[in-house]
């Protein structure tokens, strides 16, 4: 199939950037990134600068491949990362507009690559457990209610891709932050530092310049891992409790 691409090109963070048109031949069993590889080979053969885009695992688990395809982070297939999106979801002659994630806290580094170190800063502010919890414990040695474990696990599937920020009209990182807070705070090992974690992750999120949550829900609609905004409600609850609760 022949595809007409319109791709965002930007030399560096100071460049204003523009859209560039290319056409590419793809087959249905290629992934979206493989289609981009074909385009880049073509560009290299023509002695042109290939399109910079991020990728690593190509199996939907690392979260580096988010790009905005026809207005949708990770493209039109719901619950799917760009690397797992296949070209059979497109038709011959389709126009595809490819843009980087846009948010003030995610400045473009080059073409489709954005700087997501603001996410790293949020994680560094509390997305961990301070003590070494050792080897994987024997099953059932720490009692965890099944529903709680499932809820924590659902939140833990967040791959930090930033599609939620890209999808949000306010460039808010609430879905990501809430997923991390829920994942750690619901389990006994993470509960100990829950209050402090919530305070410092929210403070860092604010400092990085992300927007506030207007409860629109665009994030959960685009999240490739189906993280629900119920987590955001939980973050808000935890934040209120952390402010008015026990610790000084």
């Amino acid at each position: 199939m022949k595809l007409n691409l319109k791709i965002w090109r930007q030399k560096n963070s100071n460049d204003k950037g523009h859209y560039e048109a290319h056409s590419v031949e793809a087959t249905g069993d290629m992934s979206f990134l493989e289609m981009m590889d074909v385009l880049n080979e073509q560009l290299i053969n023509d002695k042109k600068e290939p399109v910079a885009f991020e990728h690593d695992c190509r199996e939907g688990i690392c979260g580096s491949c988010n790009m905005v395809i026809n207005g949708q982070p990770h493209g039109p297939q719901s619950g799917t990362t760009t690397c797992q999106l296949h070209m059979r979801h497109f038709k011959d002659g389709d126009d595809i507009v490819i843009e980087p994630a846009r948010a003030a806290a995610f400045p473009v580094i080059k073409d489709l690559v954005v700087d997501r170190s603001s996410f790293d800063d949020i994680i560094q502010a509390g997305g961990y457990i301070s003590v070494n919890t050792g080897q994987a414990p024997d099953g059932n040695s720490i009692p965890i209610e099944k529903d709680m474990a499932m809820q924590a696990f659902d939140a833990a599937t967040c791959i930090g891709c930033g599609a939620c920020v890209a999808a949000c009209p306010n460039g808010s990182a609430m879905l990501f932050t809430s997923a991390k807070v829920a994942h750690l705070g619901l389990l006994p090992q993470g509960k100990v530092e829950h209050t402090r974690r919530v305070q410092s992750m929210v403070a860092t999120m604010d400092k990085e310049g992300f927007g506030m949550c207007s409860n629109i829900g665009a994030c959960e609609a685009e999240c490739p891992k189906g993280i629900s905004i119920e987590n955001i409600a939980m973050l808000n609850r935890s934040y209120i409790a952390s402010v008015f609760g026990g610790q000084k």
Binding site: A104, A105, V202, M205, G211, N215, E230, R237, I240
Partner: protein, 229 residues
């Protein structure tokens, strides 16, 4: 005390202020509406004027009303500031944008709020301000037992306003904006407070839709009824 400042200026704290002030306004509107229904009592305004007199002179209600004015202003100023911050946090926009789940109302809360605020200025200027700070509204003491108390005839002023078509239309626009603001705002306020659960969220959403249709509709009936009377 630093903790409370940190809270009030944090992103979540700011939203919680929006939510609590919004919910306060939501709880005020049905009371206001029930009072206003007395405009349609068909008694030449006696019931309504008595109610208006009570509302402007009862100390408890006076106190609450200052809270109300403060909360409206806080909600409005905070809302505009949030909208400005959110716009700049997005920065540039997409060439193709879909923004799934984004409803017109949820994306235009600040615009709708400004419409509501403009409406409130007209509304308060015409009735509340004239009643409290000018002598444009005549005293009435023809009701039996009201001699010398100084009840103002707000009813006549309201009836005069609602005999003009343009004022009725301004009211309908204001109420339409309110309805849309609340279609998103009502359930959003609960989510902001962290209240989201499969058990009761559908109920909150349902209540929110009912409220945002019925309350503005209730308010709208009054000017329409008075215009055609």
């Amino acid at each position: 005390m630093k903790w409370i400042i940190n809270f009030l200026f944090s992103s979540i704290g700011k939203k919680i202020i929006m939510s609590l002030t919004g919910l306060f306004l939501i709880s005020f509107l049905p009371v206001h509406l029930l009072g206003n229904f007395q405009l349609m009592a068909g008694d030449g305004g006696e019931a309504f004027n008595t109610y208006a007199y009570f509302m402007t002179n009862n100390p408890l209600i006076k106190f609450t009303s200052y809270g109300l004015y403060f909360f409206i202003l806080l909600h409005a100023v905070q809302g505009i500031m949030i909208a400005i911050k959110n716009k700049s946090a997005k920065g540039s926009n997409y060439k193709v944008s879909t923004y799934k789940n984004k409803t017109w109302a949820s994306n235009n809360m600040a615009f709708l709020g400004i419409l509501i605020f403009a409406f409130l200025c007209i509304h308060m200027g015409d009735f509340w301000f004239k009643m409290k700070f000018t002598s444009q509204i005549a005293m009435i003491d023809t009701y039996p037992g009201y001699e010398g108390i100084g009840v103002k005839d707000l009813y006549t002023r309201v009836a005069a306003a609602f005999s003009q078509l343009w004022i009725v239309i301004v009211y309908l626009i204001g109420l339409l904006a309110l309805g849309f603001h609340l279609v998103h705002g009502f359930s959003s306020a609960f989510q902001t407070l962290g209240l989201n659960h499969k058990k009761y969220t559908p109920l909150i959403k349902g209540l929110g839709y009912a409220y945002s249709v019925l309350i503005p509709l209730g308010f709208a009936i009054i000017p329409i009824w008075m215009y055609f009377k």
